[in-house]
């Protein structure tokens, strides 16, 4: 992958990121933040590669990175789900009320 292609991909993804969030109701601010935070844990795949390539210092760094990133990913998705679950019970299907 050349740098130019990398930048192309980065720019396009950033556009998608900008567009994807349009009008979030305030009650979703925290879950949305938490969910996207979990996605930023994608760095775990870099950490896996680093931890797997051997070498002491890199190994230590890699292990820490995997651990940290996994906390971010696993904890992030779980806690988001908990939040949304609570939210779901409060919401009932809207029914029409005459007058």
């Amino acid at each position: 992958m050349t740098l130019a292609v990398g930048i192309t991909v980065f720019v396009l993804a950033a556009f998608v990121g900008f567009e994807v969030i349009t009008k979030v109701p305030p009650q979703l601010h925290t879950p949305l933040m938490s969910g996207s935070n979990a996605i930023s844990g994608i760095t775990v795949i870099g950490a896996v590669l680093v931890a797997g390539q051997g070498g002491l210092l890199a190994g230590i760094l890699g292990f820490l990175a995997v651990t940290f990133a996994t906390i971010n990913v696993v904890g992030g998705f779980l806690v988001t789900d908990r939040m949304l679950e609570m939210f779901g019970t409060r919401r009932r299907p809207a029914r029409r009320n005459p007058g």
Partner: protein
């Protein structure tokens, strides 16, 4: 697995992130969106594990197990009220991980090209600043660090110098390939994360966490450039950009600009919180907050007062309550005998807007219902909901019957300021924990609420 196949699978993961994020921004689809994100992440991890080039799985598995367990426990154990700080902490871990991967890459390969040098510097700086910044935010939210802005004289200059030093150490690292440069870079970035977060007030922390989240995304993207991974670039850019948008949305919801949040403690705070006679702090709501509170309530009681009449907001009130009723919310109006400035003032107005008589209840009929009501919406009323009349024998209005709105689950008060009503006395209701103040002209507020409820 072939390079192409893994690239496409990473792409599939990224697509799941995108669709997941989009679904997260609507209440109805949010939960499935989160699940899609998790599935995407699983795909990405599995693909990575299957890739060639991994020589030793021990550390990986160890890390996954430790991290997974810790994450699970933390997420399960935390109390609902502790979630914001937990999110901050998670975010810090993610940032740190990105920085470490880049650092490890440097340790292993050195900075071969300018490109690598720049991206490693970026990853480490962003990652570590995110790490420390997130933990300061965690501390503030958890109450370990005082919520008020902490800053010292000349901090702006200090921070600028620090930022310059980070860049300098990056250049040093790139040119010399010296590991000390890396450690210096990391230390300086970590320090910068702390000094840039401490001056920000506790109330602004959610915005800051969102901002740090965006930064950790950018760190991941930059790490993607370092290790040549499109998956990281895409996901990082996605989180970076959407996080920035979310940050902007959140600060707008607080009626602030992002710059104002980030630098408010330095510049003059141009936003003056209205001060009551009692002088206590109040919880200030935006129209959106109030709309959501109303839209998802089971029952709402509207308490109209003289302010509703002054701004001729009766049509807005009816519009709002019609829409709430349309959502299945039980809506009633509580009419206090002396609300307004003449006997029957509220009746005249509400009849004008054709609010059905069946929805109008007088004090005696409705007062016992407040404890069973989710939200009391007080519109331009003041004296008639002043708990001092009930609780404070020294109050000049002591003994006057009031509407017990303070017994409802939540109270939203719409008025323009904290200034008192006809009786000229302060109202302790405004300073209660369950009270949200929506400072606005009543007509404007009700009309915006009606609109906002529609889309909530």
């Amino acid at each position: 697995m072939s390079e192409a196949a893994s690239t496409l699978l990473y792409l599939a993961a990224a697509a799941l992130f995108i669709v997941g994020l989009r679904r997260l921004s609507s209440p109805v689809t949010a939960r499935s969106g989160n699940l899609m994100g998790a599935v995407g992440m699983l795909i990405a991890i599995v693909v990575t594990l299957l890739r060639s080039g991994i020589v030793d799985y021990t550390l990986i598995v160890a890390g996954l197990l430790v991290g997974g367990t810790a994450g699970t426990i933390l997420a399960r154990r935390v109390a609902m009220t502790g979630i914001p700080q937990l999110v901050a902490a998670f975010n810090g871990f993610g940032g740190a991980a990105s920085g470490m991967v880049a650092a490890a890459e440097f340790v292993a390969d050195g900075s071969s090209t300018t490109e690598t040098a720049v991206t490693i510097t970026l990853s480490c700086a962003l990652g570590l600043a995110t790490f420390t910044g997130s933990f300061v935010a965690f501390g503030k939210l958890q109450g370990l660090i005082p919520g008020r802005p902490l800053l010292f004289k000349g901090q702006m200059v200090f921070d600028s110098a620090l930022a310059a030093a980070v860049v300098g150490s990056g250049i040093w690292m790139a040119s010399s390939g010296n590991r000390s440069a890396l450690w210096l870079l990391i230390a300086l970035a970590a320090l910068l994360g702390v000094t840039r977060t401490l001056p920000i007030g506790g109330a602004d922390m959610p915005v800051i966490v969102a901002f740090l989240n965006s930064m950790s995304g950018l760190a991941a993207a930059s790490t993607g450039f370092v290790i040549g991974s499109e998956a990281l670039i895409i996901s990082g850019a996605l989180v970076g950009a959407s996080g920035l948008v979310l940050t902007a949305i959140m600060s707008r919801a607080m009626n602030r600009s992002l710059a104002n949040v980030l630098f408010a403690a330095f510049g003059g705070d141009d936003e003056s919180q209205p001060e009551g006679i009692g002088g206590g702090p109040v919880r200030r709501a935006t129209v959106d907050d109030a709309a959501v509170t109303l839209a998802y309530a089971r029952s709402v009681i509207v308490v109209p007062g003289y302010g509703l009449a002054v701004s001729q907001a009766q049509y807005g009130a009816r519009d709002l309550t019609d829409r709430l009723a349309g959502r299945g919310v039980k809506v009633r109006y509580a009419i206090h005998p002396v609300a307004g400035r003449m006997p029957g003032h509220m009746n005249v107005l509400l009849a004008e807007a054709d609010v059905p008589y069946a929805q109008l209840l007088d004090l005696d009929e409705i007062n016992d219902d407040f404890p069973r009501t989710d939200v009391a919406l007080v519109v331009g009323a003041n004296d008639v909901v002043n708990p001092a009349a009930r609780d404070d024998a020294s109050s000049p209005i002591y003994g006057m019957p009031i509407l017990d709105v303070d017994r409802a689950g939540a109270v939203i008060v719409v008025k323009r300021s904290l200034s008192p009503g006809f009786a000229g006395i302060d109202n302790p209701l405004f300073y209660r924990d369950t009270t949200l103040m929506l400072f606005s002209d009543a007509k404007a507020a009700l009309e915006s609420l009606a609109r906002a409820v529609q889309t909530a």
